[in-house]
């Protein structure tokens, strides 16, 4: 399987400025700080992590909604990190995004037909009026909306239906890459499953490559072939979904998987290892391994030398000097292990 997207040493620092007229740069939020990974053709790559870990920033950098501070993003072999003008516009046809909030991501003053048809208008496709309407209605049917609702407005739809509208809009140009940023976290449980099933069906139907960003670890396991775990702007572990969930090697991955509440009363009251404290500020992250301030296994080396992301021999690559052992994953109550 070849890579559709290759990300290399991607960095995004947001400057912190002080002063009213003369603004001096006094620091930087290191939102994404040296991230490298591949997205293979036809796969679903999950990116998980907690608030502020840089997962959404990474998505926006790949989409070119934000400009990278440094690093490379190669799409089908071509570095797109600094594309401009017509070539950037052409690239935009190849990648589309679904957003988290189905309420704020649809213009309330436009009809569903013109929202889903907008990508056609931007790229000058399906110019004839009847032709565009037909294309939009086909899309509506594909995502399970009633094509007769073409002239309705977003407020007439429920959250789940709005998310389907967002999906239809993203699919309009038949993109190669679809980035879904928390696509179901605003939806009710019974509706979540409808949208997740839709995304999976569409992926196999259109042969899409998907980057799926979520904080819900169960949803990510269900949707993704491979999973990357981010913490404070870095990837701490990446690998096949089953390998990563069955045998997490990075203590942070272990902590995440131990923290998820599961519907299994037989595990009620089971021992869990809680992480203490909060995530440090990305404006002033800890030295070397950024997790060492909260890591139960931290030793002096961890605050001294940054661990490389390397193969740990169990199917995942982890950035840790002292990766978890089988016994330890059982001890901390990793709830995904078999």
């Amino acid at each position: 399987m070849s890579a559709l997207v290759e990300v290399r040493d991607l960095v995004k620092h947001f400057p912190i400025r002080r002063g009213v007229i003369i603004q001096r740069k006094t620091g930087a939020v290191q939102a994404v700080d040296g991230v490298s990974f591949d997205v293979r053709r036809g796969e679903t790559l999950g990116i998980v992590g907690e608030t502020g870990c840089g997962k959404s920033t990474t998505a926006r950098l790949i989409m070119r909604l934000l400009d990278a501070t440094s690093g490379e993003i190669r799409f089908e072999g071509e570095d797109i990190a600094r594309l401009k003008g017509a070539r950037l516009k052409a690239l935009r046809r190849e990648m589309q995004m679904i957003f988290q909030d189905p309420y704020s991501s649809l213009n309330p003053r436009k009809t569903i037909g013109s929202i889903i048809g907008e990508p056609f208008a931007i790229h000058g496709l399906n110019e004839g009026r009847g032709e565009r309407r037909k294309a939009v209605q086909e899309l509506m049917e594909t995502v399970g909306l009633n094509p007769e609702h073409y002239n309705r407005y977003p407020h007439e739809f429920s959250g789940g239906q709005r998310q389907r509208i967002g999906v239809a809009r993203a699919l309009a140009l038949k993109p190669k890459l679809l980035i879904a940023d928390e696509p179901v976290s605003a939806l009710d449980v019974s509706i979540q499953a409808q949208v997740l099933n839709l995304l999976r069906d569409l992926q196999s139907e259109f042969g899409l490559t998907v980057v799926f960003i979520a904080h819900d670890l169960s949803v990510v396991r269900h949707m993704c072939d491979r999973v990357a775990v981010m913490y404070l702007g870095k990837i701490v572990e990446i690998g096949g979904g089953d390998e990563l969930y069955d045998f997490p090697r990075h203590p942070y991955t272990g902590a995440l998987l131990s923290a998820v509440p599961v519907v299994d009363p037989s595990r009620h009251g089971e021992q869990r290892r809680l992480l203490s404290g909060d995530v440090p500020s990305p404006a002033n992250p800890p030295s070397a391994c950024r997790f060492h301030t909260r890591c139960p296994k931290a030793r002096p080396l961890c605050s001294d030398q940054e661990p490389p992301l390397e193969d740990k021999g169990s199917g995942t690559r982890a950035a840790c000097h002292y990766p978890l052992t089988r016994e330890e994953t059982a001890q901390i109550g990793v709830r995904s292990a078999p």
Partner: protein, 356 residues
């Protein structure tokens, strides 16, 4: 313990709001009990009435012009009949609440300490200095590091998890007998959520209070609750102890919820079975069983007959509001539990399939 007089007993509670579009039946005849030292989990989706029923317990829907009927008996007193003043003496004192969004529940202009001191002094006749000492003690109790310094900080200086801890500290200020937690961890990340849930469990053990936890997350109730009530369209459609409910759920809606969440240990091949359709309008709820338009097992007469919440044969503490025969339900769930789809389960059990 369940034989004793309950701390809180809600009986046939109905809450209606008059709006321009019609009367919203937010809570439509709900009955439940909460016992001292135990945790009741109320599960439901948006619009199921789970939050409104709890706000009404605290008298917080009065200002919205809600029409409330039924009884809410707390330690022998019917809260529905109390005056606003009497209600104020109970709220934040014997019954406290923590809300979903800790940022909008704390006042941004005032120091966290000042807000805690206010909560203490409203109900206790103590000096400012004593209240401040209590505020510091409370912040320490909920695990905020360096509480004597933190007490003088503003909410914006706290992280999300710390704000929720401060909210919990405020709720605990007067050692309530009952704590109502409305989606206390929904706005938080998983590792912080785990910290907050562990904190609530520890405080419950130490202080012996009863907890009502309202959530849409079945994982959270499975871990926290002793008893569970599942709400749909303003009603409780199933209630039982956590063990009974997860061992043998009886209502098709509960099955739907359980089968629509991916499991953490499941692989990619796992099939989710969503519940078709969308939650109903509370202005014009469906006739008969409120769930029938979305229920794969619905029979023609389910459109007319409104099921009552009844105990199931052999399990007097497990209640369900469903018109299907208990035997049929058990066999259907048996099939679903093996991974069959609703259609397969129907053909296996031999229910006449109904096309909606």
């Amino acid at each position: 313990m369940t034989d004793a007089e309950p701390l809180l007993r809600v009986e046939e509670l109905r809450v209606e709001f008059r709006t321009e579009d019609g009367v919203v039946h937010a809570v439509d005849g709900v009955t439940y009990e909460v016992h001292a030292g135990r945790t009741l989990g109320i599960v439901g989706e948006s619009g199921s009435g789970k939050t409104v029923s709890s706000l009404t317990t605290l008298g917080l829907t009065r200002a919205q012009g809600a029409h409330v009927s039924g009884r809410i008996v707390f330690e022998g007193k019917d809260l529905v009949t109390l005056s606003d003043g009497e209600m104020r003496a109970i709220r934040g004192n014997d019954i406290a609440m923590i809300f979903q969004d800790p940022l909008s529940s704390l006042h941004p202009f005032f120091k966290v300490g000042a807000q805690l001191i206010e909560a203490v002094r409203v109900h206790q006749d103590v000096s400012k200095a004593q209240a401040r000492a209590r505020a510091i003690e409370l912040l320490g109790l909920v695990g905020i590091p360096d509480p004597s310094r933190r007490v003088d900080e503003y909410p914006h200086e706290f992280s999300g998890g710390m704000r929720q801890r401060a909210m919990i500290a405020m709720a605990l200020a007067n050692e309530p007998k009952l704590l109502i937690a409305d989606e206390p961890t929904t706005a938080l990340d998983v590792t912080v959520q785990a910290q907050i849930l562990a904190l609530l469990e520890r405080l419950q053990r130490e202080l012996g209070m009863a907890i009502v936890i309202i959530t849409h997350d079945l994982g959270v109730v499975a871990e926290m609750a002793d008893d569970i009530a599942v709400m749909y369209a303003g009603r409780i459609i199933e209630s039982a102890s956590a063990e009974l409910l997860f061992a043998g759920p009886e209502h098709p809606y509960t099955w739907g919820l359980l089968n629509s969440i991916p499991s953490l240990s499941g692989t990619r091949k796992e099939q989710l079975v969503p519940i078709p359709g969308t939650p109903p309008s509370l202005i014009n709820p469906p006739s008969g069983c409120h769930f029938h338009p979305r229920c794969p097992y619905s029979q023609p007469d389910h459109e007319r007959i409104d099921p009552e919440l009844q105990s199931i044969p052999g399990e007097p503490t497990h209640h369900v509001a469903c018109l299907l025969e208990s035997e049929v339900r058990r066999r259907l769930w048996g099939e679903l539990h093996k991974g069959r789809t609703p259609e397969q389960a129907i053909s296996e059990v031999g229910l006449p399939a109904v096309t909606p």
